[in-house]
Symmetry: C2
Amino acid sequence: MARTAHGGRRITIAHVAEAAGVSRATVSRVMNGLATVDPEIGRRVREAAEQLNYSPSTVARSLAMGRTQTVAIVVPDLGNPMFQDTLRGLSRAAARAGYRVLVADSAENPDEEIILAREARRRCDALVLVSPRMDSAVLGQLLPELAPVVLVNRESPVDGVPSLAVDYGAGIRAIVSELQRLGHRRLAYLAGPDGSYGNRARLDALHHLLDAESPEIVEVPCGAMFEDGYRAKDAVLATGATAAVCFNDLVALGLLGALHEAGIDVPGRISVTGFDGIQFARFASPALTTASVPQTQLGEEAWARLWSVLSDAEPADDLTVTPRLEIRASVGPAHQVHA
Amino acid sequence: MARTAHGGRRITIAHVAEAAGVSRATVSRVMNGLATVDPEIGRRVREAAEQLNYSPSTVARSLAMGRTQTVAIVVPDLGNPMFQDTLRGLSRAAARAGYRVLVADSAENPDEEIILAREARRRCDALVLVSPRMDSAVLGQLLPELAPVVLVNRESPVDGVPSLAVDYGAGIRAIVSELQRLGHRRLAYLAGPDGSYGNRARLDALHHLLDAESPEIVEVPCGAMFEDGYRAKDAVLATGATAAVCFNDLVALGLLGALHEAGIDVPGRISVTGFDGIQFARFASPALTTASVPQTQLGEEAWARLWSVLSDAEPADDLTVTPRLEIRASVGPAHQVHA
DNA sequence: TCTAGTCTGGAAACCGCTTTCTAGATCCCT
DNA sequence: AGGGATCTAGAAAGCGGTTTCCAGACTAGA
């Protein structure tokens, strides 16, 4: 807790009250601009506060008022650009309302995630849970005790929990349709982590391409990181596909790097697409075609949901954002395969 | 604040005390594993707590004990990969000690920064200030009232404030020396933002290259973001330099993108170097040569400094980390300029 | 058996603020 | 001028824990 610079005890409301010759209640009123206090007294109090360099203890305030003006966010990995953007959106939106944000990083560990969520929630007024990795049954159990909570990038197994989803299917369909237009007949899908909700959604979409003209899909196990994409190069080439649809931008950039090193022309020999629309996709060489998810907006929307609960307002509807296809230089007409 | 799921009042220590037929003091002792409490009573208390699904209020606890088990970090921009890494390092290190992290994003605004720092500090036990943008006089005034505080990526104008610095000079010298080795005689320096401490440090190093053989430096005003590097392409080419030394990796990646689009060979026609060693540098095409700053480690070290103050331990020494030169494909022998 | 010493657990003060309740002062209208 | 309505500011009761202090029980030694 804050002490004065000189190691003295913290200046409390009582000191100010004494200095101004009024009661603590009055100081509190003045500090909160509450009720009508005699202007002269108000002046005296403000002066005393200024003089003593008083600033009220947020902790005591929180205890007395029963709210902390703080919300928590739990993410699986602070190192992931996606979550960073969500955090940024949330943080800035919350700041505008005078709220602060507590972060917790579960390091992709589902057990840790449960503990952190509980723990973080207890310190705060509300919680944002981003892409929780825990399984559905556990999540369903946990959510009620965490309320108010909003879920980002995952469906809620129970009712009454606002959630913000991404329409991965739509993103994938947009990508495939563009590749199809360019004449690609055989696509490699670089799959994400096995348990991942997002990966499942993408696979579902790929397996349900209705069009009879739809390209053939070859699944290549991969992962979610740079390194995974980088290492997948040979497996991708071995499929004979003319385009690689990657689980996300990180994987795509990794693949791009490996292809570049191997001197393989993109998109001449093979087209590459990502997913997420991270900042870096635009500046890759060649610039990466991707389905862009407005992650920052997701953070802002998460705040909006929390705020409406915190202020007893009408709860905003659930939102499913549709990724926007960003066509860039990493895709081109299908290369003729010499069978 | 947490309520029970059913909208009832929060379960407090008093409820548990009553249920177990003991005093609140005893419950507190049991919950904290304190002193010697009769095992039978301990069992009863734990059972009651379990039964009622009791969890102590962190806020009340903080008020009573005078510490929040929370530290704050103020960064200029949560969107910047450098700060993200620092945050991540701090967060994970703090978590190991049971501490949580509050984040605040000043949006590069020095005035906002001051307010945020004060505000964040009051809610927490300590503060990390990363790359503060405020000017030195203001910083000097502010620091004492923020203590315990540690400064990352900036020197303290006052004594007694632990700070973690990056030896930008050494990084720049390593880069230049490598370029010199490759025969470059004329380098363009894509400068960072004007007020930036980091930019000043880099410039100082560039202007004090002792070696008589040192290459000539041409300064190109630029900035700190992708876009800045992207836009600087023509200005860089106009200098006739055979290598571009960029303020940071973002700028370098932007420049790389623009050069790639223009069909200009890197490093054949011009070499490009970055600074910072962000994750993406490795996977750019061509992979970016950079002076890598272990930002995550900086976050961890910041925690170590805070912790030693919080636990009254011997304060750790200030640390200056030296960037490690990562030589990658974006640099090569100097291209012969036809004067 | 009596007394000094040790333990256990409860009562109560405390952390620093908010907010209800209330007494007294002020105001207004008849 | 009198009496109710209105307003101001203080006293005190929380908020939910921790911790000091102390009384009573129990142990042990002479």
